[in-house]
Symmetry: D2
Subunit: 356 residues, 4 copies
């Protein structure tokens, strides 16, 4: 157990922030599925830095598929994607071997692995690992699209800046397609600009901000999912909490449902063109862990980037005494801004067992 | 996949609301652990109805352990707990075979299983299935206690009534022990009374209310959990979303973290009595999926009970036309009020692989 | 991990030889499948003692299905089968708490579980646990039959008595159906009589004999299975070695293939009535872990029953000194004679993920 | 499910015979374990061709560890090993897209994957994939050695040539160490020479021979393993049948046990120097799926290499008619001769969950 997900389709993610390569293996994919490597690269580029508001470090992140394909199509064998870690500067992180960064996994990883963890840039816990997660998600998304299923996410909130929420009854394919062309991924361009502004302000103060990403899965047929521990909510949660910095997750009305009455929160059924439809979507498209046929809607809360320039209180593990640390280097002031494709990818990983 | 959870320790839950028996199998338990059946019964009784604010139906819910014990102690063999379904009134539910209840799994289950689902009282999706979940959780909790680990939950919110939140740095064993003796499980007795009042008011209107349950896990050593898909957050989420009506989950600051800055949200490390400690607990005791040594704190949002007396709009599946339905019978106006032990049990199930 | 098998369809087996109940849970079964409880009982009765050559103890072994059915058909919910342990005589086994029986799991189980194992009749390791295995297999076999797939086994050898081997190209449904009506399950009635005779002779000497069971799976379409660790051979092996006393397993020519040349052992392909067929079946219907379309044929070797009346050398675990023991009571002088339905059931469990 | 093995420690194998890279990911390894890459290379070289009796093709098979290490030691993150496929000649295999090779997985893979399988050299089913299996096994073996556990195998039989069997009570570390230095791995040098001779004779006739590999695992403490489906036999079987060409597997006396009496086959216990020991080892070190403390001994039967130069009968899948094929190129006339390290590696993979 750990960095492997799924039952019929198994995704195994490997690599550390400053290791030689990072990547993933997808086992159990259907055969005969074309993989468009150019489209995959574009998918992954959406999470890559090099833009305002994101880190200045350049990561080309070109995915290399080294197995599982035959003449551009899946051949039934496990598919392995590799990504090089081109220009990592390990030196920046040397002090963190001894002084754990607040808000990162440094300290519990040190305890878990008796000091043998890769402390450089967070090692296997680094947000860098969202690159192979997005590689897996991007490949799966291409297969989902062939089956009419579309996943898209937007940054609903960053700091105090708010994007227009999805209309849970009427999210459209076009909306999701357009989102993928913007950075940050927002429905309102104005909101996106405001988010970048707030992020830059936080960075100027040596600080960071959090945010919320909202995700929609369209055209899932009703009845997908399994009861109890393998419902769509359970599986989506297991996958989405794998995206670093996620601290909350809610489906449909989510926490707001706790303040509603049943007569408001229940979604009535109505016949429409001979088919059963829902007249509202408070449930976020899931009842009892199973899809209702309405769009699946969920939101993930991201904490503010823990790496901040301001001096912070910590301890020296070797000397057993209090210490201070300052994190230099280039860090996103708001991970949520880059996180939309990561959430989409996690959702794709979660749903692969049910769709493919 | 479905109603089985875990890797080393596997919990398999079975039964339907109106079937002959419900129960669970716990496979892989350590041997030589005493199981106090009286204490188990008290644990399970906390979720059982028969009290103000809960359904008037009497369920004795006596658990019978039919395997896995030898002279009162676990013997390494899988432990099976059975619970009889004493006085189910199937008749109450006959109409729901044709007219799915809004907010329940009736419709997607009908689609998934081609009309062969057990429609009586929600079948396998019924909140009745929290009885075996609590049986499993109660047995695990006894083993955790022997290792110094304690789990407790309280109803933080029901309707608009609020309980005092846990102090994430100072939740105490005594607090959790006391909670287990109250119904509903609240820290403030006054808040509990107000919750019952609001629930009764909703019932009088043929309606229902939602709520939030907050849970704490105390004395987990630092470094428990696995990276990425099997972190504590991922596993807790997979288990807690198995409790019916949960629509949201957050750890530590959760969604509030999205509105904080990094300098506030990061928890500083300090040496204290020669040990590394945290000077705050915004992270809810988890970083990178691993325990930090601080209390694990999370909150689960419960939607309002979908079974309400008011007439609701639905469809007739057999006739393919719109229909109305009224749900008679005895239903909790607020499932959150009974849910605290269920959340505790789900947490125990999630943590078994890491603790035992 | 331990007494749970499968991925999509999970079978969890529980119980001890002298516990209150034994049983199994089948999770993930398709819905709408009729379960003929009468036929299930007949399936299970084939492994039950009460006949010449088998133990004189009477086990009614009536299976009670307590969940997962709705009006006689599977409803998608996990199906639990319970069997009572009616008249166990725990007293017979008391000495084995201290003096482990040679050839049984007593000693390693004592070490594994620090003395807390259920030592009565082998506890969870008892051949008694083949009853729930057969219950699971019998239910699955009914579903397989609806899909045209048939599993049957015969006792190929007991002591030195030999039954006619299956013709790997021409095993027929009728042959398999007839086998199910005989005890022991042999193709040649004469061979069966000789086997019983040899078993009785061994018993008279306070000894026991081994045997070989051969199993055929008919009408599996070509291409079932998964590469590498989840091929049909891998999965069948994982399940069949769960039947107590199995010490060897071979597919097709098996160990004999080691003595053949490639030109003899390779099965040529030929077109026949427009379909690809095999002109021989040395491979036992499996290549690379995948079904070829020819009958799947395998053989399991059973060691002689370890419980024998002759005095045996052992040790006293409490006193740490050498000891002797004599096993009284009623024991099969040849477990292979009753094992055919158990092997069939294990095969059904192994194949469920691929067929259903 | 497919090319992933294990629960706590998960091994995911990927690649095709003529793909860009082959490799594996080991997830869940303990941290702080040194990996001696030079020793790993030597381990893997034992299965590599380039010697008499093996194929003339040169595969350098240098393993590159691209993640999971930090300064030469495991760091808790998943460990990925890559191997380049240097000089594959895809042209040799083009005809097999249409005409399946008898004895290979070509035909069932064609059916399973609708013609999209990688047909070049058997794709994912190729014996080439034993390279990453050996990489995984070699890494695990280093960790086992640190815990005093040793695995070694020899070619017991090839054609009619026989090596001296292991003495199941007295296999020694030195014996196993020496084996690793010979090709083929035999206890008797004379037997090894005879095996090579028989293999070359078969090759000269355009034919091939089979063989048997015997494996020993030394110093496993008593009580390892899990009951029923996850016993040592079950897990070893699931892993060993992943080695191409294995068609049979037996533990201890195995099939011979079917011909013994219980009084002979049972292994008596005796106290020796204050410890419980076995006075014989017919059980091959396993009872009820659990280790007894005696050496674990098992034998795997290998069929003759299916690739032979003699013309063979097959079919043209595209034309739906009978066809002939001749397999040119360089092929082992006896896969068993190279298989000893592969069986050792499969055993290591099977045991990782229990030992590490």
């Amino acid at each position: 157990m750990s960095s492997v997900f799924g039952e019929r389709i198994r995704i195994s993610v490997f690599g550390q922030s400053h290791g030689l390569k990072i990547g993933c293996v997808l086992d159990g994919l259907p055969a005969g599925e074309e993989v468009d490597e150019e489209a995959l690269y574009r998918y992954m580029a959406r999470r890559a830095p090099g833009k305002t508001g994101a880190t200045a470090r350049r990561e080309t992140d070109l995915p290399h598929i080294v197995s599982g394909l035959m003449e551009g199509k899946t051949c039934g064998a496990p598919l392995c994607v590799l990504i090089d870690n081109a220009d990592a500067h390990s030196g920046d992180y040397a002090q963190f071997q001894d002084i754990p960064r607040p808000g990162h996994a440094d300290y519990p990883a040190h305890v878990k692995w008796n000091g043998f963890q890769d402390y450089r840039g967070g090692g296997h816990f680094s947000a860098r690992l969202t690159a192979p997660v997005c590689a897996a998600g991007g490949i799966l998304a291409q297969m989902f699209a062939r089956r009419g299923i579309m996943i898209g996410a937007h940054v609903l909130r960053a700091g105090t800046a708010q994007d227009t929420p999805f209309d849970p009854m009427n999210v459209s394919d076009q909306e999701l397609s357009l989102l993928a062309e913007h950075y940050p991924q927002t429905l309102s361009e104005q909101a996106g600009k405001e988010m970048l502004l707030q992020a830059e302000k936080a960075r100027a103060l040596g600080d960071s901000i959090g945010g919320v990403v909202e995700c929609a899965v369209l055209h899932l047929p009703a009845g997908l999912g399994e009861p109890m521990f393998d419902g769509l909510e359970n599986r989506l949660a297991q996958a989405v909490f794998a995206v670093p910095a996620v601290k909350g997750l809610e489906f449909g009305e989510g926490f707001a449902a706790a303040g509603l009455t049943g007569s408001v929160n229940n979604d009535a059924y109505r016949m429409k063109d001979g088919r059963v439809t829902l007249s509202s979507n408070h449930a976020g498209g899931i009842l009892g862990g199973l899809s209702t046929g309405a769009p699946v809607i969920f939101r993930a809360a991201f904490k503010p980037t823990p790496s901040i320039a301001q001096p912070q209180l910590s301890v020296s593990l070797s000397r057993g005494e209090n210490a201070e640390l300052s994190i230099r280097g280039r860090h996103d002031p708001c991970v949520a801004l880059r996180a939309a494709p990561c959430v989409e990818a996690a959702a794709a990983i979660a749903l692969a067992d049910f769709i493919l």
